[in-house]
């Protein structure tokens, strides 16, 4: 009798659940009937404008200051005829900082090139191209064309540094086959010195020496698609590179990016005296994990074998300041780590608690001197507009990697409108 009652109860619950589901389906279908959105059509043009204002507190007794920025970014990908395309990308930043009327503008001609698809599987590109390799998130040893490419730093977010930079003038050809590709490019010397002129195309920044690169990738199994690179620069030894990613389980991607070859130390290059050539390794490796509630966590270990080790880094801090500054400026220009080991952590949460709100955070811990960069962003987006609030802090002992930066803490609010 009791068993019969349980069965009856189970049956009632099941039927009630099914009925509830059907009612929910009917409500959902009634909602779906209201959908009227028409498909949008692809545009050759993409553009956005961005305004930002912020406040920074500083070290060394320096006064706090306000900063304002107005930026415009435009990109074109136009098909000219069968197989022919022209691609253009440009960005203009206007900056105002502190009390003084010291506005400065920086234009970054990111790309301007012609692409000819000779056959479906053979392509030739000529012009200024932002070519980028690497699977690391915070550090890219195989990104061989990053040197001197950033004219205007608007954020410490590695994505921003990769987005807002100059391409190099080159001739690039690519051959494709099922599961693989071969890319070859040459980038000639066209000028000697970078230009500080606001509207300069700045060939001296990106094409101040002859360079070349070969890249081959081949899918060797499902989920395994390594890429091998060989890169060279006039007067320097060729560098080998390797990129690999692999999916583990349902939620984890592991990655490794390595570059190695004979070369001088970063310090001797910075001081213009690259003498002792030894084999040096540079690497970024780690994993990215995604949870079911849209949180992605990335942990990356970074190593730069051409940078100063702990002892030399400590010695530099107590040596002539001119050498210290020269080294720091050079490392920043070529986008290399100034010390041997770093840890990079990135977290982002899409639709964090409410729809359309994204939370992003990153931290870079210098393992040589234990200084740290922290950055947090809350970003809300509508159809065409993003609003973001960013907080950034450089922490560490005096003369450490991040502790030396005058700006201790920075707040910035950003509004972006996409056309």
């Amino acid at each position: 009798m009791r068993r019969l009652a349980i069965c009856a109860l189970w049956l009632i619950c099941t039927l009630a659940s099914a009925a509830g589901q059907d009612d929910a389906d009917l409500d959902a279908l009634a909602t779906a009937d209201k959908a009227t959105a028409a498909p949008e059509h692809a545009s050759d043009w993409h553009a956005f404008v961005e305004g930002a204002f912020g406040n920074a507190t500083q070290r060394y007794g320096l006064p706090d200051y306000r900063s304002e920025r107005l930026s415009a970014d435009v990109a074109l990908d136009k098909t000219l005829g069968a197989g022919w395309r022209v691609l253009f990308a440009d960005r203009l930043d206007g900056n105002w900082q502190g009390q003084e009327p010291n506005e400065y503008k920086v234009n970054t001609l990111k790309e301007l090139y012609l692409s000819w698809q000779v056959t479906p599987n053979e392509i030739i590109d000529v012009g200024r191209i932002n070519t980028r390799y690497g699977v690391g998130y915070g550090y890219n040893p195989t990104d061989y064309f990053k040197d001197n490419a950033v004219r205007s730093v608007v954020s410490v977010d590695p994505n921003s540094l990769r987005n807002n930079r100059l391409g190099s003038v080159m001739v690039r050809t690519q051959m494709l086959w099922n599961g693989g590709a071969l890319t070859a490019l040459v980038s000639p010397k066209l000028a000697s010195q970078p230009s500080a002129d606001a509207f300069s195309v700045d060939l001296g920044a990106t094409n101040n020496t002859n360079r070349w690169l070969l890249a081959v990738s081949q899918r060797v199994a499902e989920n395994v698609n390594p890429q091998f690179l060989l890169s060279g620069e006039q007067g320097k030894s060729a560098q080998l590179g390797f990129d690999l990613t692999h999916v583990l389980g349902d939620a984890t991607v592991v990655f490794v990016e390595w570059s190695g070859g004979q070369g001088a130390s970063l310090y001797s290059e910075a001081l213009g005296n690259p003498t002792r050539q030894v084999f040096r390794n540079r690497m970024a490796t780690g994993l990215s994990y995604t949870t079911t509630n849209k949180i992605s966590l990335t942990l990356e270990a970074e190593y730069n074998g051409s940078a100063l080790d702990s002892a030399d880094w400590a010695a530099l801090a107590t040596g002539p300041i001119v050498n210290y500054l020269q080294y720091r400026n050079y490392a920043q220009a070529v986008q290399e780590l100034p010390t041997r080991k770093s840890l990079f952590i990135n977290a982002n949460w899409q639709d964090a608690m409410i729809s359309h709100l994204d939370l992003n955070a990153l931290a870079r811990q210098d393992l040589t001197d234990q200084s740290r960069l922290s950055w947090i962003e809350a970003r809300y987006h509508w159809d065409h507009t993003d609003v973001a609030l960013q907080w950034q802090r450089y922490g560490g002992k005096p003369w450490s990697d991040f502790g030396v930066v005058p700006q201790r803490t920075t707040w910035q609010s950003v509004m972006t409108y996409y056309f």
Binding site: Q21, D22, A24, D25, L26, A28, L29, T31, A32, A35, A37, P39, E40, A42, S43, H46, F48, A75, D77, R85, Q117, P120, N121, N130, T131, R132, V135, N159, R162, N163, Q174, L176, N178, G179, G180, A181, T183, S217, R219, E222, N223, N225, T245, V247, D250, A251, T252, F255, S288, T290, T292, K294, Q350, S355, H356, D383, H384, D386, T416, Y418
Partner: protein, 257 residues
């Protein structure tokens, strides 16, 4: 005499067997209704509702091609709208999932978990050959309501994942007996949790057959979260196999016309 009766009975049984296709055959036939058996492109307009209010819209250009080796679809998806995401790409090729952002020139590998998040996650409800990744074990006949609230006589297929590529642990799918049109499907986790319900509706003649041009997806946990996927601009277009790889993503530009 008894031999001829036996032969007659065998003939009838054989005819009955032919008239009643297997669950797996019904599933394969419904796959063929959703997807042409040749490479094609289409525009997918997604409208998302939360609690009855429109919360998001996006437009995707999709190219799909069956992989000769696995029989499964490989797809290139390019964002047309919203403006902030325009020209971003996703490549689906078995377990190889790549996201490409033209601004940073970064090709990022995605995990299957990331595939289930975001707007494009619902792409697998459409351009996927379910018969390749799932084994249908039963095909009971029953009446059910379709996406236009009409009663349809259907096979109710119970399907379980048969390959590691399968996104869902098991699926219930209702397929109309008269024409093997998929009517609705419920997608479940291993623990039996309902992930999503899909209604296939607004059938129209497209690329040589009657195909659903609108899919209504209802979230399993939050039934007030509804996504409408509307298909237009169907076009037969071959995409070279060599384009369906990470290295071609920076170059891919759809031309639907």
């Amino acid at each position: 005499m008894s031999k001829s009766i036996l032969a007659g009975l065998l003939l009838i049984c054989s005819a009955i067997a032919q008239a009643a296709p297997s669950a797996q055959e019904i599933l394969a036939a419904s796959d063929a209704v959703r997807n042409p058996d040749y490479p094609f492109g289409l525009t997918n307009t997604l409208v998302e509702y939360r609690n009855g209010k429109q919360s998001d819209t996006s437009t995707l250009a999709i190219y799909s091609k069956s992989d000769a080796a696995s029989g499964q679809f490989r797809s290139l998806i390019r964002y047309i709208a919203p403006a902030r995401d325009a020209s971003k790409l996703i490549l689906y090729s078995g377990k190889d999932l790549w996201f490409y952002d033209p601004s940073s020139k970064a090709s990022i590998r995605l995990s299957p978990q990331q595939r289930l998040l975001g707007q494009a996650s619902n792409g697998d409800v459409v351009t996927v050959n379910l018969a390749k990744d799932y084994q249908a074990s039963s095909a009971e006949e029953e009446d059910t309501q379709d996406g236009e609230r009409k009663t349809k006589h259907c096979y109710k297929l119970l399907m379980s994942a048969s390959t590691s590529d399968a996104t869902y642990h098991h699926i219930e799918m209702w397929v109309e007996t008269a024409n093997t049109h998929p009517v609705k499907a419920r997608f479940y986790t291993e623990s039996g949790k309902l992930l999503k319900t899909a209604y296939y509706r607004k059938y129209q003649p497209q690329l040589g057959g009657d195909r659903p041009t609108e899919i209504v997806i209802i979230d399993g946990l939050d039934t007030n979260w509804v996504t409408v996927m509307r298909y237009s601009d169907w076009v037969k277009r071959d995409v070279p196999d060599a384009w369906l790889q990470r290295d071609y993503l920076p170059r891919f530009k759809p031309e639907l016309e």
